[in-house]
Amino acid sequence: MPFPATRLRRLRRTEALRGLVRETELSASSLIQPLFVVAGEGVREEVESMPGVERFSISELVAEATEIGALGIGALLLFGIPSEKDETGSGAYDDEGVVQMAVRALKEAHPELTVITDVCLCGYTSHGHCGFVRDGDIDNDLTLELLAKAAISHAEAGADAVAPSDMMDGRVGTIRHQLDEEGHSRVPIVAYSAKFASAFYGPFRDAAESAPQFGDRRSYQLDPANAEEAVREAQLDLQEGADMLMVKPALPYLDVVRRVKEETGAPVAAYQVSGEYSMLKAAAANDWIDERAAALESLLSIRRAGADAIVTYYAKEAAAWLR
């Protein structure tokens, strides 16, 4: 029935009416806080290109996790920055590596906190690529074994879920198979299924010290032009045993978030990446936007697009704002 009988503004008149018909909710429990852990003692250093984001040594990380848990944030996603790197990224699958030790410390101090670990080699390889490099290219199939060993070491340390972010073909199936073989069939895989070769990752590479030393990652990450291919990646990951699918970045790829959700029906996470975060911070620092309103609107839009969970550097701030 058209205007004037139908007036959609009627239900927008008061906050209570708007609340009754609100379609999308944003809560701390749907947020995931990424954290960077470094070797050493008493380290708490700010990442220059990401205001408010710090790298923590393990004891400081545990203290930070106390605050995160108190805010009701759903989970944390852990990235390791090793003291030494080598050509096969051996720190990634070292039982005594920085992430593995951090997971043990976190789970001992906060057994109730959900700890997800990023599974990749780029932070651990001297060349900064996500796999074993041979003749200037990533050897996909040999890399799978290294990734699986990394995932197993995280699970054995106590990780609640592992999140392979490398974009190698077949990695979810390999990791699932080896986790099951090693007695970790209850550990879910949060697969970075649609990870695009994005310009928005710049500040993260500063934070994680993981910029590639030669070339780029376009031979394994998705072309930003391709949404069909992103859906295929998601479907393949599901077939291989992924429990949750991730789209990364988030805001420039809301169409992909929506399509992955609709075409798979699986739980979907979206990663509001460092560039998205730093742009909001920079605009807010210049008083060009209302940071709180803009950040919450961005997160809400990601939820509205279909994301069940959002990985965001704003998790702590947003959780406090949402209280």
């Binding site: 096969t88 051996s90 039982d95 074993f132 041979r134 199939d141 040999l142 060993k149």
Partner: protein, 79 residues
């Protein structure tokens, strides 16, 4: 089989300064990677491809001990 070849590789730690600090699982990861390459060919019935895998496999298993350049040189010589 994995245990046997892992033991064989373990002596490679002596070739690299600080090699004893490599993760305990390094040898199993290297052998596991090669085993996967071989298993894929056996499953597909493409056994004839196996000899051609030698350079790739040799470079992979030697890289933790020799570094990629030297591992590549050895692989080219023996692969």
């Amino acid at each position: 089989m994995v245990a046997h070849f892992s033991e064989e590789l373990f002596v490679g730690r002596g070739l690299r300064p600080g090699g004893d600090h490599l993760p305990q699982i390094t040898e199993k990861a290297m052998v596991g990677g090669v085993a996967m390459l071989v298993a894929q060919r056996l499953e597909r019935g493409t056994h004839a491809e196996l000899p051609a895998l030698a350079p790739e496999a040799i470079q992979f298993v030697l890289t933790p001990y020799l570094g990629s350049e030297e591992a590549k040189t050895v692989a080219a010589r023996h692969g």
